[in-house]
């Protein structure tokens, strides 16, 4: 497995993991239904002390730095479309870790994304 493929997987998996952690954290914080300064301050405090959220930020940071690293040698026209795989991984994570319901159309869409990514990998 080449370093490039490995890096793409790292970027995609950590990004999806970050998204899932942040989703879980924000659901725990609760729906933001008011925007008065006092309310917002309370929400910010809850968010910043939420383990899931902070873990999510850590994962996203890992994803971003891996993205920077791979750009030092790989084509942007390959890397950016390749990272669209995050839609697929996040969807699988959402279904099995967050127990979200995913309908047929959404699965179809993600499969099409995969085919698209496979195409951009070809020389």
């Amino acid at each position: 497995m080449s370093l490039t493929v490995l890096m793409v997987l790292v970027i995609v998996v950590t990004n999806a993991a970050g998204d899932i952690c942040i989703t879980r954290g924000m659901k725990r914080v609760g729906e933001i239904d008011g925007f008065r300064p006092g309310q917002l301050l309370k929400i910010v405090k809850r968010v910043l002390t939420c383990g899931d959220f902070l873990l999510g930020i850590l994962f996203l940071a890992m994803s971003f730095f891996s993205f920077l690293a791979i750009l030092s040698w790989a084509d942007m026209s390959f890397v950016v479309p390749a990272t669209s795989l995050v839609y697929v991984v996040a969807l699988i994570g959402a279904r099995f870790l967050l127990k979200e319901r995913v309908d047929g159309l959404r699965w179809a869409g993600t499969i099409i994304v995969c085919v698209g990514v496979a195409l951009i990998c070809l020389p």
């Binding site: 750009l71 026209s77 159309l105 959404r106 099409i112």
Partner: protein, 142 residues
């Protein structure tokens, strides 16, 4: 109108940002004596490169516009709308970075955009019709 404006700025900022990051990282890799593909030194040098910070700033602008859009528009609209950014990214890579982009790669990019649109369409079905719930709330209000 403001939706179109914010979308345009978001998509443009993301493409410009990625282009700056790519250019910056390639320049660092080219000028480094011992080119280690993966090293902390590479990232440390990146943090000291102005073009990288311009790229990060552009991505921050993109994220700001994205978040702002979500404050009034549906995610099921914003997500596919911003997926056109993939096309812009590839176009910028070809034009500004001189990357060779085969027709296969273009076809793959278009398929990805289609896939994102499909995924978002299903989301529209799931969370749509806030009018229904509003109607019910009105009916039970006394």
């Amino acid at each position: 109108m403001k939706t179109f404006l914010f979308l345009s700025i978001a998509v443009l900022a993301q493409a410009v940002g990625n282009t700056c990051l790519s250019k910056g990282m390639k320049t660092i890799a080219a000028s480094t004596q011992a080119v280690e593909a993966l090293s902390l030194g590479l990232l440390v040098e990146a943090m000291g490169t102005p073009l990288i910070w311009v790229g990060i700033l552009c991505l921050v602008v993109f994220f700001g516009c994205f978040a702002a859009l979500l404050s009034w528009a549906d995610l099921s609209f914003v997500l596919p709308a911003s997926s056109f950014g993939y096309i812009l990214n590839v176009a910028f890579a070809s034009h500004f970075l001189g990357e060779p982009v085969s027709s296969t790669r273009w076809a793959g990019t278009l398929l990805i955009v289609l896939g994102v649109i499909l995924v978002s369409r299903s989301a529209a079905g799931r969370h749509g019709n806030s009018d229904e719930t509003e109607g019910i709330a009105d009916a039970t209000d006394s």
